[in-house]
Each structure stands twice: as structure tokens, then as C-alpha cells.
């Protein structure tokens, strides 16, 4: 598994040693803190850095003290947490940095990956262009999230989290190229969105700058892919223990830098594209850019009932900046404007806020916007990231939300549980309601804090929170009324009939809480996580009143008095909902030219004043708190270099300066939807592929004619993929550009923490089945083959495979291996997994595909597929028999358990025994089981059962096939259960055949011995059958007989019984079967129950994590099928025959015995044996059953039971209430 070292967060290259360390428990050691741009990740450094944590973040000191009025400073609110920021002004700290902090110099256009944002406006970020990490002023930056870059940026986050987290071991991550997929898909998305996917596109052809940037982007991507391949080879070739961790770490660092570079290139590419569009002065070429342009010139006016996006948009300083930019751009006076702006800044910064505000409200939209900012931001916002270990998340609001939700649910759960009781005391009811409501209040408080943190979120959450609040209130009201209404005479006051309302109220609480929490989580994702600081405000739910009512209106028990509050309230007042007020002014159309005040307002947001409406008492308190903290939290730096700004920030240069530094261009996305925390797609998509079924089928000699039709020259899959990757390596980047950009459905796939696929759409699953660069996971492949009919029709599957074959054509470099894999999936299906009954329809897709599409590309394969498709209909059973146990452990290892040359154990049958059998066959007397050795009987039983067990097909175990009442195809499973039951009957029959208790005892002893031998043979199925019979009511009641069984045998039986005990979900049996070495015959029933419950307990679909507001897309719950396949695999693991010699005569005799005891009706048998048992040893203790007097139904069994030992045969009559007549 993962070693501790791997668990520790990877220290990064170029990480400026911030004094933030997420691990608060470690002490501070500032020694390493000042090191930056450390390019190696030696282990010693890793250690130092990880211990350099300090519990406080220390952003840089304010560079200037005199320019601003500190008393007016309030912090900059940033309602939306942006994962990426882009500098629109250069920032070159000229002052000496303190020992403990590192500030990042920024150039205009630099893009920064943000890790957290401090309350004072400094952000901890990593500069993409250099990989340096440090503090940077957020007011120099704008949010960066253009639509077409979104996927790439998201992929970079995942990439970063994955490579830096160290949660998954290196070999798992780098064992294949899965982790590269996101970046590649992101680049593809960017190019697709900008209509530049192919070199031939009109845009690329017409713009040299674009062409060059695109080329650079792709060559960087190619470089990253190469590095990743190198790493894969490296990690796979060297045993992990010997792998030079420095070497690997250096490579990882290199890859992170390369990924940064790719994004940087992407940013530049988009800039150039924007410029191109602008210079053309024509209709935007594609829709996306049209949107951008529109927004740039006409910032939208959010409607009153705007969604979170709109809400997020305004009040966002980054948005302000962007809009300002666009307005200055549109005015064409950006240069002078910016100059003026900075002068203005200096001038204005000495002024008081009041001078600014009146003007802000008039025609300058942007300056008015900060007034909407709710200033409750108190601490640091973190990016929701998988890299923060759970232990360190404790104080984060997301964690608080989860824990309070859990508490609420558990209280509600126990409350609902109580409601199911037939009656309960009002005191108990009150206390559980109170607990639930208190927990609900706690949850609401957390939501309040989040609302308070960001007033835009309040709007989003408002409805959900109010709904939850209402539900809780309804619960309180319902509880009160029920207590009030019920006359309290004794303890049992609340009858289940009255619980209906409570139940409904409680259930809707659960539902409302779920919705509210889901919405809140979404908000946290958007605004970033932050430290929890509870507000001490009451929520106005008067829980006390429930108890009070009781006290007032009834004479409650002592309990209730105890619980009741001192002052009774007759009725709770309408609950005041405390929602932080928020103001959301509509942004106005920006003026053509920014005014100084406008700029001032934007650039010095720290000097803003709280808006009066928002200044509640509580807020004022917080303000004062913040003032008190001022000395700790330095204000943001002021713009210090107006001249430089002026030079760099020159929109008029845009059209010409393709190759200069990044162009400042407007980005549409001030709305950042950060989803990085929820999507585990790339993080966990790694899994070591074992030898796959695919390669097994392709390399295995199948039928003789395959060598005829499949040319020898055709490379195997593994060869192909190898040459494929070699050619990629060899390819010149220019030529290989399109190779990077394959179409993919990878984003529609879900993984669990172990990297197993848990869900996905059909195209995504099919894509996974036919990846070009790695052999698919064998478990995945076999699960797919086995279970696909449960989630897709064969025709749909065939179509999806053909689609895959088609769309991979867009990516010629991988088309070869992928198409061959598509062929192999078809081939494997037809050869080994075909079920003509259900699959026949798919032939109408497969055959044309084989002759046309496949035949054109791979003639041999097409011909072979066509042949197979013609054969399957006529042949019964698989053309190529599946390997036994293809699902679980590889079958190859089985040979070692039973080498073929092992001599069969000698049979334990003497001549006389054989003679007895032969005599019986000739019509002589029937030998009893006593005449045979328990071992030999156990062996022959085992052989008999194993033969059936080995013939169980996996299909029989799917979809509860074996439980079908008629027409079940699960013949072998049914045969298993029948044999089991027959064996049990045989045991009972042999025991009950003797009138002499002593003889019966001997038979019992013999069966105990046989059962013991079965255990020695690991035949748990027969063991189960024998134990069941010995423990049946028929046999166990034979007290006189059991008295004659020695204690030793009884103890032996007890031991055997403990093994097959169904208690604790067959804990003992499961433990024994776990890692059991074949040959072994497990108890089949256990698997059948497991399969039934996997089916009953897991839904058919699951949701992809939603993007934005919307629910995620519903995908196939592959996890369910993996579980099913796993259980079937466990069973198949044991489908290996024993090396035991079969004695034909004995088999025949056994069969005859079983046939003898077989009865047409199962129940008849049981009754028959029980009757016999009663005859042999009549009831000793005829204790009377309930008398008619006490039985209000008037039904009496007492008398009948006394005289009629056959009373039990009247069960049905009794059920019908028909008087029973003794036989």
C-alpha cells in the first residue's frame, strides 16, 4: 500500500517557503522559510519544508504606511474564490521583505494558481510562468477563467493536486498515462472552442501569430507527454524500492513546470486569438467569442432573481477590473486612462471615503459595486483540494458543515426510529425533538456563517435554508400539538397513529437539510473553503415550548417536568429568520472612459467603507475586531509603479504585439466555478493494469483458422501499443500535434479512491475498454463482459463500439491500436461471451461493421469478425471456452495446487464393501451408510457436488436468474440447491429409519464423522447440508437418541456447526474462505445471498458530480456490477475439480439413495420426517398452549396439541381459520 513517505505532501519545486503550512501540529522552523526557487526536491528538503509549518499565516508587511488612511481600511471582500488570477498590473515589491514572507513579483498578464486567499487580500499563489510560490496582492489581479480555458485550468488543478498530493503512490499514478488525459483533453477543448483544432482551420491559416502559438502549445504538450512516458517507463522498470526518489521527484517537478507552461501557452494563444478578433472588426467567428465580446462592451445587468453566477459576478473586484479594462479598451484611451488612474489613486488615497461615495452612486457603475460587498470575511479562503488531509480540515467550514449535517441526520434518524414505536412517553418525544432541533440549529448556524461570509451566497442559499428552517419549525409545531392533544394518563401518550405527522415532518427535515447542505457545498466550492467561526445568534426556533405546553396543559410525569423549561410559553412566536441583509445594486453600463474616482474605487478597495444597510450590530463588532487586528494583518500594497504600468498596460499595442508578454485582454470569466475538489476523475484514474483479458484473448490461440485470416504480420496489441508510443516519442512535435488532441469521454467516468471505475456513461466505459496506451484493467474488462447486459442492450453496445471505432479516426495516431482493440472487444464477445438468445440482434450491427468499416482498415480482422458472427448463431455455447476463473485470480496459478501428475489418493473401499455395492446393483439388499468409511463417503459426495459446482456458469448468477420460478436458465445453481436439500433429507432419512434409538445414535455419529471429513476436504457445501439436517427440528428433538451420542461427538458437531453458523453474516465461514487455496467447495448459498443483496442494495445509476447548479449527469453505476463480478469471481476461484478418484459404483448407490429420499414436494418431505420423528419419540412435555380463554381469537390449539400429534399438518387450515379435524 502507500507508505508514509508517499503520504506526506510532496513538497514542490519552486515553492516559495511560505509560512503557511497546512499541518498545524508541527512546530515552526523558519530556517527554511526563506529558501525559494529551490529546484531540487531532495528528501532532506522535503523534511525541512514540511516542518516549517506555522499556525499563522504571515503575509507580507504593508510596503507603504503613509499613503492610506488606515482607519478607513476595510478588507477586500472576495465573494468568489478564484482558482486562477491574472495580474493586470505589475507588482515589483521594492521594499525589503520580512524574514518570514515571500512576495511574488508579478508582471502584467501573469497567471497565478491560487492556493488560499488571506483576509487582507493577499493570496498564496504559484506563478505559472516560473513555478514560484509566494504572496501576491489580489487587487493587482483579476479572476482568470475564460470559458475555453476552463477545462484546461481544471485539469491543471487536478494535475497539481495529483502530483503534489502524494496520496496515491507513484507507481499507481505513473504506471500508465491516465493522469495525462485531463491536460490533453483541456488543450483539445481550448482548440476546439476556438475553432483551431486542425492546422487547416481558417483562423490558423490566416494568422501567423496564432499559428505559432498553437504550435508552441502543442509542442509543449508533446514535451509533457514525453516526460510522462519517461516517468512511466522509469517507475515500471525500476523496482519502487530502488527507484531513485530524487530522480522521480525531479521528473515530477519538471512535469508540473511543463504543465504550467502549457497553460501559459494556452493563455497566450487565447490572447492572440482575442486580438485577432478585435483587429478584424468583424462578426466574431464563433459563439464563444461573441459572448466575450458582448460582455466586454455591455456588462450584463443581473436580474433581481439572478442566479448565483450573476450574483457572484458583481461585487467581485476581479470582475470590476475586467470591466474597467474593457471599458477603457473600448474608449481607446486606456493608456492615458491608466496613467490618470494611478495619479488619481495617489491623490485620492489621502481622501476620506465620503468624498468618493456620492460620486460612486451616480454614473460610475464599478465604484458602486464594492458597496455590495459584505465585509464579513474573516480568515483565509482555501481552495477546496484533495491535498489537504482530513485531519487538517477540521476547522474548515466544509468540514463543519459535514459534521453538523451528520449529527442532525443521526438525531433525526433516532427520532424517526422512535416514531415507529407503538407508543412512547411524551418526555422522550420532547427530548428527541429537542435534540434534533438543536442539531438542526447547529447546522443552520454553519449555513449562516457561510451566508455571512459572502452575501451573494446568502441569496443562493436563502430558499434552501428557509425551507429547512420551515421544516424544523413544522416538526416543532407538530410535536407540540401532538403532546398537547394527547391526554396524558400514563406514560404511553403518543400512539403510532399520531406519529404520521411527526414522521412526515421529520422526513421532510431530512430532505430539506440534504438539499440545503448540497447547495451550501456548492457555495463553498465557489467561494473557497475558510475557517469556521460560529456566530452566536439564535435561530428563533422555540424548542423549549414543546415541553412547556405539556407542562401547562397537562399533568405531566416527573420526567417531563424535569425536562421542561422554567418559563412556559404557550406558543412559539413566529421564528425570526436572521438572514444577513445584502445589497445587490445593479451594475450599470460602464462609461466609455473610466473616471478617476472609478479607478480609485476599484484599485483601492481596501479603503472602502461598509455600506450602511449591512452594518448590523454584529458586523460593527466584527469591524472593530478587524481594526484590532490591523497590526497583525498589513494592508495591501498600493500601486507603486505607475510609470511601468503605463508602459506595460497599453491596449493599443494589442494588435501588433503577438510575441510580447501576455496581452491584457478581457476574459469573460469572472465567474469561477471551481469544481476541483469534487472531481476525482484524474486524481484517481490510475490503476495498475494487470494482464488483461483482452490481451489474453488476442494472444491465445483461438481457433486454427485465425492464423489464416489474421496475417502473421499483424502485430499483437502489446506490440502495437508499444510501437504506437514509440512513434509518438519519435514524432516531431509539429507533426504530432493532432495526436495530443483525441476526442475523449474521460470526463464522464467516475472512479473511487482506489482508482476503480465506479460509474460512467456507455461511451466512456467503451472508451475505457479500448484505450490506446494501456491495456485495460482485467477486472474492468471481465466485469464488463459479464455484466454489460444488465445495463445496456447488446445492440447498444455494438453501436457504441462502432462509434468508438469511428471517432477515434479523428486522432490518427491512436486510431490503430484503438481500432484493433475495438475489434478485440468484438472478438472476445463473440468468441467467449456470446449469448445468442439475447445478443442475436447485435449481429445486424456487427456484420456490416465487419465487412465495411473494419474490413476497410483491417481486412483480416474484418473477415475474421464476420466469420465469427456467422458462427455464433449456429453454435451452442462459447466458441472459445472461457478460462475457468478468469475473473478472480489468474488460472495459471492454480496448476501449482494440483499438479496433474499427482497420483490420485487410493480409495478407501474394501473388497467386501465393493461386493456389497455390486450385490445391491444386482438387486440385493441395500447397504447402509454405516458399511462405508466416512472418508470415502465424504469424498464421493464431494466429487458429486463439485461436478455440479464446476459447471455453474457466471450467467446463471446474474440478475437473480436462479430464483426465477419458471424457465430459469440457472440449471446448475438449481441443481446445487437441490442436491444440498436432498443430502439433508438423506441424513434425516437414514437416521429416522431405525426404531431403536441406539441405532439412530450410531447413524448420527456416522454423519458427524462424514461431516468432519467433508470439512477436512474443504467441502463446506456438504458440511452445511449435513449440519442443517442434524440441527433440524426433526432430528434435534430426538432427545433419547442424542443422549446416546457421546459427548466427544457432540463436541465435534458443535465445532463443525460453529463453522457454518450464519451468525454475523457467516463471519466464521467467510474468514475461512478468504484466501482459501483450492480445491475447496464453498457454500454456494452465501454467494447467492451476497449477489441478491448487491442487487437490492445498490442503485442502477449514480450521479456524476454536478457542474455548477445543475445536477450531475446520471451514469451507469458500474460499481454495482464490479461488486457482482467480484462475488462471481470469488465463486469461480473455486471451480477447480478435486483430484479424487471417483468410484462409479458408489456414485450410483449414492444417487439411488438421493432419488429415494427425493420427494415431489419439498414441504411434504419435511412434514413426513417430522411426523416420523414424533412417532419415534413422542412429545415428552405436552405443555399446554394458550388456552381459549386467553386467546381472543377463540382459536385453541391446546387441546388438539395434547391429543393430536399431527396438529402441525393443519397449518394451512389454521391460516384460513377453518376448524381442524384430527386425522
Amino acid at each position: 500500500m502507500v507508505t508514509e513517505k508517499e503520504h506526506s505532501l510532496r513538497s514542490s519545486i519552486h515553492v516559495a517557503p511560505l509560512s503557511i503550512n497546512k499541518d498545524r501540529s508541527r512546530g515552526a522552523s523558519s530556517a527554511s522559510r526563506h529558501r525559494r526557487n529551490t529546484s531540487s526536491r531532495s528528501s532532506s528538503q522535503t523534511g525541512t519544508e514540511s516542518t516549517s509549518g506555522q499556525s499563522q499565516m504571515t503575509p507580507p508587511a504593508t510596503p507603504n504606511g503613509s499613503q492610506e488612511d488606515l482607519s478607513q481600511q476595510i478588507e477586500l471582500a472576495q465573494p468568489v474564490f478564484h482558482n486562477f488570477l491574472r495580474a493586470f498590473y505589475p507588482f515589483h515589491p521594492t521594499y525589503a521583505v520580512s524574514d518570514t514572507t515571500v512576495t511574488l513579483p508579478l508582471n502584467e498578464g501573469d497567471v497565478v494558481l491560487v492556493h488560499s486567499v488571506h483576509t487582507n487580500g493577499w493570496a498564496d499563489g504559484t506563478l505559472l510562468i516560473s513555478g514560484a510560490r509566494g504572496w501576491l496582492p489580489t487587487n493587482y489581479c483579476e479572476a482568470y477563467d475564460p470559458e475555453s480555458m476552463r477545462n484546461l485550468l481544471k485539469a491543471l488543478l487536478n494535475f497539481w493536486d495529483l502530483l503534489r498530493s502524494g496520496v496515491i503512490s507513484d507507481s499507481e499514478v505513473f504506471g500508465n498515462q491516465e493522469f495525462m488525459r485531463g491536460i490533453i483533453a483541456g488543450v483539445r477543448y481550448l482548440l476546439e472552442k476556438s475553432n483551431c483544432l486542425t492546422r487547416e482551420s481558417h483562423l490558423i491559416q490566416s494568422n501567423e501569430g496564432l499559428r505559432r502559438n498553437r504550435k508552441a502549445l502543442l509542442s509543449d504538450l508533446s514535451a509533457l507527454v514525453k516526460t510522462a512516458k519517461r516517468l512511466q517507463e522509469y517507475t515500471s522498470s525500476v523496482p519502487p524500492s530502488h527507484a531513485d526518489s530524487d530522480e522521480i521527484n525531479n521528473t515530477i517537478d519538471e512535469m508540473i513546470l511543463k504543465a504550467f507552461k502549457i497553460v501559459t501557452r494556452g493563455v497566450r494563444f487565447l490572447d492572440v486569438l482575442d486580438d485577432d478578433l478585435r483587429t478584424r472588426q468583424q462578426q466574431p467567428i464563433h459563439r464563444l467569442m461573441a459572448t466575450v465580446a458582448e460582455e466586454a462592451y455591455n456588462p450584463p445587468t443581473p436580474p433581481a432573481d439572478s442566479t448565483s453566477f450573476d450574483g457572484a459576478q458583481h461585487g467581485d473586484p476581479a470582475y470590476d477590473a475586467a470591466s474597467r479594462r474593457s471599458s477603457s479598451r473600448s474608449s481607446g484611451s486606456g493608456l492615458s486612462g491608466s496613467q490618470r488612474l494611478d495619479e488619481q489613486t495617489k491623490r485620492q488615497s489621502y481622501k476620506r471615503m465620503e468624498t468618493k461615495h456620492p460620486s460612486a452612486s451616480s454614473s460610475r457603475p464599478l465604484s458602486s459595486r464594492p458597496s455590495s460587498v459584505h465585509i464579513k470575511r474573516q480568515s483565509i479562503s482555501h481552495r477546496l483540494s484533495a491535498t489537504i488531509p482530513a485531519a487538517q480540515r477540521q476547522n474548515l467550514v466544509s468540514e463543519r458543515l459535514n459534521s453538523s449535517h451528520d449529527t442532525f441526520l443521526s438525531h433525526l434518524g433516532s427520532f424517526i426510529g422512535r416514531l415507529h414505536l407503538q407508543s412512547q412517553s411524551s418526555a422522550d418525544l420532547i427530548s428527541t425533538v429537542r435534540q434534533s432541533v438543536t442539531a438542526g440549529q447547529d447546522l443552520l448556524k454553519v449555513v449562516e456563517v457561510i451566508c455571512a461570509h459572502d452575501n451573494q451566497s446568502a441569496e443562493v442559499l436563502d430558499a434552501a435554508r428557509n425551507a429547512m428552517y420551515d421544516r424544523i419549525n413544522q416538526l416543532v409545531i407538530a410535536a407540540r400539538e401532538i403532546i398537547t392533544l394527547s391526554g396524558i394518563e400514563d406514560e404511553d401518550v403518543v400512539m403510532p397513529q399520531q406519529n404520521g405527522r411527526l414522521l412526515m415532518a421529520a422526513t421532510s427535515c431530512v430532505k430539506a437539510a440534504g438539499e440545503c447542505v448540497a447547495k451550501t457545498k456548492f457555495v463553498i466550492e465557489r467561494i473557497g473553503d475558510f475557517e469556521f467561526e460560529p456566530q452566536n445568534e439564535g435561530l428563533g426556533i422555540d424548542i423549549a415550548s414543546i415541553g412547556a405546553v405539556t407542562e401547562e396543559e397537562s399533568k405531566p410525569s416527573a420526567d417531563i417536568i424535569e425536562d421542561s423549561p422554567p418559563e412556559p410559553a404557550s406558543r412559539p412566536p413566529p421564528p425570526p429568520l436572521i438572514i444577513p441583509s445584502y445589497e445587490k445594486p445593479l451594475p450599470q453600463v460602464p462609461l466609455a472612459s473610466p473616471t478617476p474616482e472609478d479607478n480609485f474605487a476599484r484599485l483601492s478597495p481596501t479603503a472602502l467603507e461598509p455600506v450602511a444597510e449591512n452594518a448590523t450590530a454584529e458586523q460593527q463588532m466584527m469591524d472593530s475586531k478587524q481594526e484590532a487586528r490591523k497590526s497583525l494583518l498589513p494592508p495591501l500594497p498600493k500601486m507603486t509603479s505607475p510609470l511601468m504600468t503605463q508602459e506595460d498596460y497599453s491596449p493599443s499595442e494589442h494588435s501588433s504585439a503577438h510575441d510580447s508578454e501576455f496581452q491584457a485582454s478581457f476574459r469573460s470569466g469572472s465567474i469561477a466555478i471551481s469544481n476541483s475538489g469534487t472531481s476525482s476523475t484524474y486524481l484517481s484514474g490510475m490503476r495498475d493494469s494487470e494482464q488483461s483479458m483482452l490481451s489474453q484473448t488476442s494472444t491465445r490461440a483461438t481457433t486454427p483458422d485465425i492464423s489464416v485470416y489474421v496475417p502473421r504480420t499483424q502485430p499483437s496489441i502489446s506490440e502495437l501499443s508499444m510501437t504506437g508510443s514509440q512513434s509518438t516519442l519519435a514524432d516531431d512535435a509539429d507533426d504530432g500535434e493532432s495526436k495530443m488532441l483525441e476526442k475523449t469521454y474521460a470526463h464522464e467516468l467516475m472512479h473511487n479512491k482506489e482508482g476503480q471505475i465506479t460509474g460512467g456513461t456507455l461511451p466512456a466505459l467503451v472508451e475505457r475498454l479500448t484505450t490506446h496506451d494501456s491495456t485495460p484493467d482485467s477486472i474492468f474488462v471481465s466485469t464488463f463482459y459479464l455484466t454489460f447486459r444488465l445495463f445496456v442492450t447488446p445492440t447498444e453496445l455494438a453501436k457504441a463500439l462502432v462509434d468508438r471505432f469511428d471517432y477515434v479516426g479523428e486522432s490518427p495516431h491512436i486510431a490503430g491500436p484503438v481500432r484493433l482493440r475495438v475489434y478485440n472487444v468484438f472478438k472476445g464477445w463473440l468468441e467467449s461471451h456470446w449469448r445468442d438468445l439475447s445478443d442475436h440482434d447485435a449481429l445486424s450491427i456487427i456484420q456490416p461493421f465487419a465487412t465495411e468499416k473494419l474490413g476497410r482498415v483491417l481486412p483480416g480482422a474484418g473477415k475474421r469478425l464476420l466469420e465469427l458472427s456467422q458462427k455464433v448463431s449456429s453454435t451452442d455455447g462459447p466458441l472459445v471456452p472461457r478460462l475457468v476463473s478468469s475473473m478472480g485470480k489468474t488460472s495459471t496459478s492454480i496448476a501449482q495446487y494440483i499438479p496433474a501428475d499427482t497420483p490420485l489418493p487410493p480409495t478407501g473401499l474394501s473388497k467386501s464393501q465393493m461386493g456389497a455395492l455390486k450385490n445391491w446393483k444386482m438387486g440385493g439388499s441395500n447397504p447402509t451408510i454405516l458399511e462405508f468409511d466416512p472418508l470415502e463417503l465424504a469424498r464421493q459426495l464431494t466429487i458429486k457436488e463439485m461436478t455440479i459446482f464446476c459447471s455453474i456458469m457466471p450467467e446463471e448468477l446474474l440478475g437473480s436468474e436462479w430464483t426465477k420460478r419458471s424457465g430459469s436458465n440457472a440449471v446448475n445453481v438449481r441443481a446445487m440447491s437441490t442436491l444440498s436439500t436432498d443430502l439433508s433429507n438423506l441424513v434425516a432419512d437414514t437416521i429416522l429409519q431405525y426404531d431403536d434409538a441406539k441405532k439412530r445414535a450410531v447413524i448420527i455419529k456416522h454423519w458427524i464423522k462424514i461431516a468432519h471429513k467433508c470439512l477436512e476436504l474443504n467441502n463446506y457445501d456438504s458440511l452445511m447440508a449435513i449440519i442443517c439436517s442434524l440441527n433440524s427440528s426433526t432430528i434435534i428433538r430426538l432427545k433419547r437418541t442424542w443422549d446416546m451420542v457421546s459427548q466427544k461427538r457432540k463436541d465435534m458437531l458443535k465445532g463443525l456447526q460453529a463453522i457454518v453458523e450464519p451468525d454475523k453474516n457467516y463471519a466464521v465461514l467467510r474468514r475461512r474462505l478468504h484466501d482459501h487455496v483450492p480445491p475447496c467447495l464453498p457454500f454456494v448459498g452465501m454467494y447467492l445471498t451476497d449477489l441478491t443483496f448487491v442487487d437490492a442494495g445498490n442503485a442502477a445509476t449514480r450521479q456524476l458530480p454536478g457542474l455548477g447548479d445543475s445536477d450531475g449527469m446520471s451514469v451507469i453505476n458500474f460499481d454495482k456490477h464490479t461488486r457482482t463480478a467480484k462475488i462471481i469471481g470469488e465463486l469461480q476461484r473455486f471451480q477447480i475439480p478435486y483430484r479424487l478418484a471417483e468410484i462409479a459404483e458408489m456414485q450410483e448407490w449414492l444417487q439411488a439413495q438421493i432419488v429415494r429420499v427425493k420427494s415431489s414436494s419439498e414441504n411434504e418431505n419435511v412434514q413426513q420426517y417430522y411426523r416420523k420423528s414424533l412417532l419415534l419419540e413422542p412429545r415428552e412435555n405436552m405443555h399446554p398452549r394458550p388456552s381459549p380463554i386467553n386467546d381472543p381469537t377463540g382459536f385453541s390449539s391446546t387441546q388438539k396439541d395434547k391429543f393430536d400429534i399431527f396438529a402441525w399438518t393443519h397449518s394451512r387450515d389454521r391460516g384460513n381459520n377453518v376448524p381442524a379435524t384430527p386425522i
Binding site: T981, S1033, L1088, G1097, R1123, H1183, P1186
Partner: protein, 215 residues
């Protein structure tokens, strides 16, 4: 709260019924934490659930052998450990109800106790349009079985699921309390000692409408 809460007791509940009546769904719905996405029935705790009944913490260990209905010889082994039994049929299948009486007889035989806690469950109440077992028929069965409570449930909609388990658990607790002095006595006298209590309860239940909870 009272002192009773402190002690937690384990109770063994056995779920029985013909195949296809949806008893596995019923059990899965009950034991499964609805907030967990993936259910693994192969671990020891798969069928354990703690609930609170009358202020007591009860750990229910549920034995549901769904899928092995055809292993008829196994039934009594399953029944042996049970203290209370859920007899599940589908309101859409007449035969699934009649099969219950066999099961009940078998239970009474193996437990040697006519008053073993039983709850009758008519599942699939969401399929009202396919109902073939009338409520009165089910009530008649309930009455003939010593007024064993009858519930109609919908595992699919999670209706009355917890109710049936809690009712059964409550019956077990009552039986436990009344027979507390001596378990042996209980065996010997087949629960005769409890009769007055039971009688009392039945009377009360009649007032409540037969103790049957319907949707």
C-alpha cells in the same frame, strides 16, 4: 434519560419469505445507510443496525437469506438463532402469502414456542394496481396467528420499513422482560407465563385498530 439506555442489547431478527417478494430490498433499505453510495453485503456489519426502541439501544442483527430460498433444508438453521421473525409476502402474489404459514409452523416447531415474536409484512404496497392479496385476507391471517401485527410496506419507497423492524424488536423486548426470570422456564412452559401480559396488549391493540399500520 433513564438507565435503560445505557445497556445495549443484541437482538436477532430473521427475515423470511418466498423468493421475489422483495425481502432483500426491505432488509437492504433498513440496514443501509441511505447516505452511503455503495453497499457491500459481504462484510460482517452488513446486516447490523442499531436502533432505539423505548429508550433502549438495540443492536439488530438481521439474518436475511434472500437468494437461498431453494435451500429449504437450511431454513431451520437460519431460524434457530432468531428471536423475532419478519414474515414477508408480496401483496401481488397470493402464493407468497400461503407459503408463510409453512414458514410459521416451522418457526414454532424449531423455537418450540407458539408465541414467538412475528410481524407479517405485505411488501410492494407501491404496486397497488397489481394487488391480489386483499387487506382483509391479510388481516384474517394476522388474526389467526395470534394477532401478529400486519404491516404493508414498500421497500422501494422506503415506506414502513423501519416500522416493521421496530415493532418486532419491541415484541422481543416485551417477551424478554416478561420471561426475564428464567429462560428455561420460558422453554418449558412455552411462554405461558406471559399470557396475561399478552392478553393485555392485544386488548389495547384492538382499540388501536388491530395494531396494523397501513399506508
Amino acid at each position: 434519560m433513564s438507565a435503560r439506555t445505557s445497556q445495549r442489547r443484541d437482538y436477532h431478527i430473521v427475515v423470511l419469505g418466498a423468493g421475489g417478494v422483495g425481502k432483500s430490498c426491505l432488509t437492504a433499505q433498513f440496514v443501509q445507510n441511505v447516505w452511503i453510495e455503495s453497499y457491500d453485503p459481504t462484510i460482517e456489519d452488513s446486516y447490523r443496525k442499531q436502533i432505539e426502541v423505548d429508550g433502549r439501544q438495540c443492536m439488530l442483527e438481521i439474518l436475511d437469506t434472500a437468494g437461498t430460498e431453494q435451500f429449504t433444508a437450511m431454513r431451520e438453521l437460519y431460524m434457530k438463532t432468531g428471536q423475532g421473525f419478519l414474515l414477508v409476502f408480496s401483496i401481488t402474489s397470493q402464493s407468497s402469502l400461503s407459503e408463510l404459514s409453512e414458514l410459521r409452523e416451522q418457526i414454532i416447531r424449531i423455537k418450540d414456542d407458539e408465541n414467538v415474536p412475528i410481524v407479517i409484512v405485505g411488501n410492494k404496497s407501491d404496486l397497488e394496481e397489481h394487488r391480489v392479496v386483499t387487506r382483509s385476507r391479510a388481516f384474517a391471517v394476522s388474526q389467526s396467528w395470534g394477532n401478529a401485527p400486519y404491516y404493508e410496506t414498500s421497500a422501494r419507497r422506503r415506506a414502513n420499513v423501519d416500522e416493521v423492524f421496530i415493532d418486532l424488536c419491541r415484541q422481543i423486548i416485551r417477551k424478554d422482560n416478561s420471561s426475564a426470570p428464567s429462560y428455561e422456564e420460558e422453554l418449558v412452559y412455552g411462554g405461558r407465563e406471559r399470557k396475561p401480559h399478552r392478553h393485555h396488549r392485544r386488548r389495547k391493540k384492538k382499540k388501536e385498530g388491530g395494531g396494523c399500520v397501513l399506508l
